[in-house]
């Protein structure tokens, strides 16, 4: 019991240690402006990681979320810029496309009974190709202000806080309550614990899995909007690093890759750990290759800790 509680507190402790370390290394780290920047840097991966957490909790994995996000952002920019749709409708259109893509994943997993790894590996490539085809591999600029609105924000004293970062925190709060306080949320854990016993307990496991993959698609849609807001353009090359960064965030956050165990807020902490390391090492003038190296080591440490805590 104590060990499990520690497993949940572990990521937070790691985040605080990292913050302390970088605060000692660089006087600029612990400024409001810099922390706000970290939050903006992680908001895309953070929102994608909410969907990824849901999928991983059921014992699956979503390798396509980043590519589906790219498809969403291209759909939004294409509809708004090229076809002149009202930006709000273009946003809704993009989110519908990503949710539909999630539904395709869910249907392949539940109806055809294919392993999620294979399904999303396939749809990852398909989503990438479709994104390139419909955008003709071109970046969309001159987007209407509504599409980039989430990149603006409010100022608290000297610290700017982007609406997008607030949206991410709101979504985490929502996902936390959903998973903890509703039957559907608990059923996500039950399915990840043991799919067959959940089915025998009377849970409609197919419907649950389908909704989880659709929610992951919807998260990719929100992340698409955040990505547009952050960069100011619709970029068909986006989403490629985010795909696996979400898995890193979820695992660093203490959620088990085998499903059934974990908390969604941990994934926010996981995303922040990666963000803080990247930001801190940049401030220290360390090359970005080392940042990737550190991320890799962190992931292995996180999974090793998870396994070790389970055994004892």
């Amino acid at each position: 019991m104590i060990v499990r509680r520690l497993a949940y507190a572990g990521p937070l402790v790691a985040l605080l240690l990292a913050c302390t370390f970088f605060a000692l290394q660089s006087p600029r780290f612990l400024t409001g402006a810099n922390l706000s920047l970290v939050l903006q840097q992680v908001m895309v991966v953070g929102v994608l990681a909410i969907g990824q957490t849901l999928v991983i909790l059921t014992g699956g994995i979503d390798l396509a979320c980043g590519m589906i996000m790219a498809l969403g952002s291209i759909t939004m920019s294409l509809l708004a810029v090229k076809h002149g749709w009202h930006p709000a409708v273009a946003i809704a259109g993009g989110m519908s496309v990503t949710t539909l893509a999630g539904m395709v994943n869910g249907l392949l997993v539940t109806r055809i009974k294919l392993p999620p790894f294979i399904v999303t590996l396939g749809t990852m490539n398909i989503a990438f190709a479709v994104t390139q085809l419909v955008s003709r591999a071109q970046t969309f600029t001159d987007l209407p202000p509504l599409l980039t609105w989430l990149g603006h924000g409010v100022r608290m004293g000297n610290t700017p806080i982007a609406y997008g970062a607030l949206a991410m925190l709101l979504l985490y709060g929502f996902a936390f309550v959903l998973l903890r306080e509703t039957a559907a949320g608990r059923h996500v854990y039950a399915v990840g614990n043991n799919l067959e016993s959940a089915r025998l307990a009377g849970i409609n496991t197919n419907r649950l899995l389908l909704s989880v993959y659709m929610l992951s698609g919807l998260c990719a849609g929100v992340a698409a909007l955040l990505s547009i807001a952050r960069t100011g353009v619709g970029d068909p090359q986006s989403g490629q690093t985010e795909n696996l960064d979400t898995v890193t965030a979820v695992v660093l956050g203490g959620t088990s890759l085998f499903g059934g165990r974990g908390i969604v807020v941990g994934s926010l902490v996981g995303a922040l750990i990666v963000g803080v390391f990247r930001n801190g090492l940049t401030l220290m003038g360390v090359s970005s290759v080392y940042q990737i190296l550190v991320t890799g080591v962190l992931v292995i440490l996180a999974v090793a800790t998870d396994q070790w805590s389970r055994k004892s």
């Binding site: 019991m1 499990r4 306080e181 509703t182 039957a183 559907a184 608990r186 059923h187 854990y189 039950a190 614990n193 043991n194 067959e196 016993s197 959940a198 089915r199 025998l200 307990a201 009377g202 849970i203 059934g260 165990r261």
Partner: protein
């Protein structure tokens, strides 16, 4: 001991099931009375699990009839049987290990909060579920320190206790237990056996599938011996020796037809 004049609660006639060329059920009959513990024994491949799956709705038989409480029933899935008041504890598949005892007890049947919080926002009523879980476990004499602890922190016997308690909490007619004492030590087994007796004493019928002859003979009122997809014999436990039961089960001895009807 159960009352031999008690009405039949669950009855099956001529159940048949084939998997390709393999005949799992070859017109088997089955019955259990109200408040009775009926053991089902049989060699591997005798059709025990197919019979149990048909009764619990996990398998749709090719032929035959199932009657529950005097009415014909057609189960198309485990939820049908559960709604009809038949609860099943599947071997190894009963619980979600990382979830709490309360969550496991109410899995798939959660209480929601009263008012808008429950109906519209679908928020769970944790306090009510925890209170009811604690009461229920206490009534069945299952001593658990904390009902919020994860099931994986419990011993094998305690886990089985939780699984049986869940079925007893929601069953209205019949509890089906598939090898409830397999993989348990002596002390843990006897704890589970006591629990099964208490479940029967609450007026529920218990169907006990077991390979463990001493447990069967210690607990069951009657024994259904399954062999080659059929009911080879239905006997009162006190009328038969363990050696005879095993002999019929393995086909070493044919149970005399006359004696069989007498026993019933």
């Amino acid at each position: 001991m159960s009352d031999p004049t008690a009405p039949l609660v669950l009855e099956a006639r001529g159940l048949a099931k084939c998997y390709g060329h393999v005949t799992a059920l070859d017109g088997t009959d089955f019955e259990v009375r109200a408040g009775e513990i009926m053991a089902v024994i049989g060699d591997n491949g005798a059709g025990k699990s197919s019979l149990i799956k048909a009764l619990s709705g996990a398998l749709i038989p090719d032929g035959g009839e199932i009657w529950l409480d005097g009415a014909r029933v057609h189960f198309t899935g485990p939820s049908d049987a559960r709604r009809a008041g038949i609860e099943t504890v599947y071997q190894d598949l009963a619980l979600a290990p990382a979830m709490s005892i309360t969550e496991n007890l109410f899995l798939g049947r959660e209480h929601r909060r009263p008012g808008i919080a429950g109906s519209l926002l679908r928020v769970l009523d944790r306090q009510r579920m925890e209170r009811e879980a604690a009461e229920h476990l206490q009534q069945l004499g299952i001593g658990i320190r904390s009902i919020t602890q994860a099931v994986e922190t419990l011993s094998g016997g305690q886990r089985q206790g939780i699984a049986v308690a869940r079925s007893a909490a929601f069953a209205r007619h019949v509890v089906i237990l598939d090898e409830p004492t397999a993989a348990l030590g002596v002390k843990e087994s006897s704890m589970v056996l006591d629990l099964i007796t208490r479940v029967r004493d609450r007026g529920l019928s218990v169907i006990l599938i077991s390979h463990n002859m001493p447990h069967v003979f210690a607990l069951a009122d009657r024994i259904h011996i399954q062999r080659l997809g059929r009911r080879a014999a239905l006997v009162n436990t006190r009328d038969v020796s363990m050696a005879d039961a095993v002999a019929v089960m393995t086909g070493a001895v044919e149970w005399p037809a006359a004696l069989q009807t007498n026993a019933v």
